[in-house]
């Protein structure tokens, strides 16, 4: 097991390096470098920047030098000093802007993942065991709706319904009185009261496809001879189900959860904008619209790395569940 985890972590290294190269390429694609924009922005506000300060920044990020030098300076800044560069739109270091938002994104993603998993597992098992019952039809129909309706559309409809019929707003993660307040028990409760709405919206479309997978897997297992054997020797139906076929069926299910993580982060980005959540999505889109490339690049880098780590966790869980994978 330890060897397996170590091998997986080693495999992660080239992936993360590839991600950083790709992110850097995206940052370079945008026209103009951030320094020119910074100087232009400050000049338009009537401030002048001394040539020395510009030269210092130019040297720090290797601007004007060949791309690979710039890349190395950028990566080593992150690795050695935790310096993600400068956001010219906010005129602050990127690292001071991202961590709060990454935290909320992490909480939201983990919450959504848990919801997706529990929901898809329960519903999938139910619709497989009670195949062609009314419940199965209703749930399958709901799953298809969840698959077809984009999350941001559900969010918009929800906004409309709550504003029009209940006369209250569902956006944000906190009530107005808690936004600036320090952390307390009340604030956490308030957060949870707001958090479930985006969790359900983002989770629904993910859960929909997982339900289909779980149902199909379990249906394949339910008619195998070993199930008949277990039933014949008098095992109670509930224990039989959980001990044998579900354990077999949950296996492809876990490996798919790894794939669904990127989709989760993507869904979060769009829904967060509609619901104006203080997560990474809205800031990323704004940074991209204003070509604030160091900020945008840092988000893309961190979100992708987070996803790779999530995939690693799901791989480890899969190996823990299924010895055949561990000893390959």
């Amino acid at each position: 097991m330890v060897g397996f985890v170590a091998r997986r972590i080693l495999l992660m290294v080239p992936t993360v390096i590839a991600i950083s190269v790709m992110t850097f390429a995206i940052m370079q694609l945008a026209p103009g470098d951030f320094l020119t924009s910074l100087v232009a922005g400050m000049a338009s506000q009537g401030e002048s920047v001394s040539q020395g300060a510009i030269d210092a920044l130019r040297d720090r990020y290797g601007l004007g030098q060949p791309p690979h030098v710039q890349y190395l300076k950028w990566v080593s800044g992150i690795m050695l000093r935790g310096d993600f560069g400068q956001s010219f739109e906010w005129n602050r270091p990127v690292s001071s802007l991202i961590w709060d938002r990454m935290g909320f994104t992490l909480v939201l993603s983990l919450g959504t993942l848990t919801f997706t998993w529990v929901f898809a597992f329960l519903v999938g098992v139910y619709s497989a065991v009670r195949r062609y019952s009314i419940g199965d039809y209703v749930l399958s129909f709901l799953a298809f709706i969840g698959l077809a309706v984009p999350g941001f559309l559900i969010a918009l409809v929800l906004l409309y319904v709550s504003a029009h019929f209940f006369n209250q707003s569902v956006g944000g993660l906190f009530s107005p009185e808690y936004v600036e307040a320090p952390w307390s028990l009340g604030k956490v409760v308030n957060l949870l009261q707001h958090l479930w709405i985006p969790i359900v919206i983002i989770g629904l479309s993910q859960a929909a496809s997982l339900v289909r997978i779980m149902r199909a897997n379990l249906l394949d297992e339910l008619h195998k001879p070993y199930v008949v054997t277990a039933r014949a020797k008098g095992l109670p139906e509930g224990r039989l189900l959980l001990k044998y076929p579900v354990r077999m069926a949950v296996n492809p299910f876990v490996s798919t959860v790894g794939w669904s993580l990127p989709a989760l982060v993507s869904g979060e980005a769009v829904v967060a904008i509609v619901l104006s959540l203080p997560t990474t999505g809205p800031l990323l889109v704004r940074a991209l619209q204003s070509k604030d490339m160091y900020l945008a690049g840092s988000f893309i880098l961190l979100l992708s790395t987070l996803t790779v780590i999530g995939t690693l966790i799901s791989d480890v869980m899969l190996a823990w569940l299924d010895p055949r994978i561990r000893y390959q």
């Binding site: 992936t15 590839a18 991600i19 790709m22 992110t23 995206i26 694609l29 945008a30 026209p31 298809f144 709706i145 698959l147 077809a148 309706v149 984009p150 941001f152 559309l153 918009l156 409809v157 906004l159 409309y160 504003a163 029009h164 707003s169 956006g171 794939w259 993580l261 990127p262 989709a263 989760l264 982060v265 993507s266 869904g267 980005a269 769009v270 904008i273 509609v274 990323l284 889109v285 991209l288 619209q289 070509k291 945008a296 690049g297 988000f299 893309i300 979100l303 992708s304 996803t307 790779v308 995939t311």
Partner: protein, 377 residues
């Protein structure tokens, strides 16, 4: 069809002659068997009809839309939808009465039931050129008096007809799915085929690339690439750039399906037989292997189109995909981005219904095709 199919069909029949009473089964071709299987799937059939209708709408957009999608009206901004009332000899809609809210200084419209506007099928309205060629001015539905207002799905902030804009948007939204998937397919079949046919180190390398691409969250990646498109590009260039960006990820799914099929088919007896016969590699692939997984590929394509449609909608909704004056469902939904416009004009969400219809239809159709792809199972 190739030799193995005509051999396989009677064998199935010999084993269970009583199960399928249809006498024509013996001579039915593979495609006919698939059609029979597909026909049994009611939802897939319904999905197919919806998709066919949507593509017809895209084809005849100019004729079906009552108005020019860009025609603005200062008089009727945010006009609510009208209901068509049908009576014995014709149909009519009610007119509008405008009320100025003294507090918000905003003009709002209410339906005025004292004014009836006569509505006709095949009415003469604004002139247009069908497919840019044939000059016409007949619209499938329109008011008798061309200057009277008729907004069946309401109007937006510039007084443009939402229904006409959705109809025109069908063109871009439904075609971007096709173009995007066609691109993904070329990449997917090529790389997936290479990976499956040759196996070994090439396979490992391609699988690593696929794994890498799938481990990146797509929206941030797409946003980054889309933001890098120069603002000076023409709408057509942006359209193709966006499809390329979308298929950058889309091909991985298709490559896996194709690669897996190739890998299993390579070991089949009929491939070995063809090889012993001295067929060239290209001939083995094109003549023997491709026909036996073509149906699976068609099913995978159908299931891949909705993903592209949804992605385009999300990107355009965020303002980083297609830009006005191009009209797509995502661009239209951008109008409904903030709570204020949704609260005052909920009919701006109507393009979302079109998205849901298209995606559901394609999903059901794809499901049915996938079941039908293997008619011997």
């Amino acid at each position: 069809m190739s030799a193995q199919d005509s051999l396989a069909a009677p064998e199935v029949l010999v084993r269970q002659p009583a199960a399928e009473p249809e006498p024509s089964l013996v001579v039915a071709s593979q495609w006919r068997l698939m059609w029979w299987r597909f026909r049994r799937h009611r939802m897939a059939l319904a999905g197919g009809v919806v998709i066919l209708l949507l593509y017809l709408v895209a084809l005849f957009a100019e004729f079906l839309a009552p108005y020019d999608p860009e025609a603005t009206s200062v008089q009727y901004t945010f006009a609510p939808p009208q209901v068509v009332h049908v009576y014995m000899v014709g149909a009519y809609v009610f007119g509008y009465r405008s009320v100025v809210d003294p507090q918000a200084l905003r003009r709002t419209f209410t339906v005025d039931e004292s004014v009836g506007i006569s509505v006709h099928l095949f009415a003469r309205g604004p002139s247009y050129k069908l497919w840019g060629l044939i000059p016409m001015n007949v619209h499938v539905i329109g008011p008798e008096d061309a200057s009277a207002p008729m907004y069946l799905l309401g109007s937006d902030r510039l007084g443009r007809d939402v229904l006409s804009r959705i109809i025109y948007g069908t063109r871009v939204s439904m075609s971007i799915g096709l173009v995007g998937v066609a691109l993904s397919l070329i990449l997917g079949v090529l790389l997936g085929g290479i990976s499956g046919y040759y196996g070994g180190a090439i396979d490992t390398a391609i699988q690593r690339v696929i794994e890498f691409l799938r481990s990146i969250p797509t929206i941030p990646l797409w946003l980054g690439l889309a933001a890098a498109l120069p603002a000076s590009w023409s709408p057509l260039q942006v359209y193709f750039a966006i499809t390329v960006i979308l298929s950058l990820i889309g091909w991985t799914g298709l490559a896996r399906v194709v690669g897996g099929r190739f890998l299993s088919l390579r070991e089949e007896d009929f491939v070995m037989a063809a090889r012993l016969d001295g067929s060239s590699q290209l001939r083995i692939i094109v003549r023997h292997m491709v026909p036996s997984f073509l149906s699976h590929i068609i099913a995978s394509i159908t299931l891949a189109i909705p993903a592209v449609i949804l992605s385009e909608t999300a990107l355009s909704f965020l303002g980083l995909g297609l830009r006005p004056p191009v009209i797509s469902w995502g661009v239209l939904l951008q109008e409904a981005q903030n709570i204020r416009s949704v609260a005052t004009a909920p009919w701006l969400l109507a393009p979302g219904v079109a998205v849901v219809l298209a995606v559901l239809g394609l999903n059901f159709l794809g499901d049915g095709l996938r079941d039908a792809a293997d008619p011997y199972g």
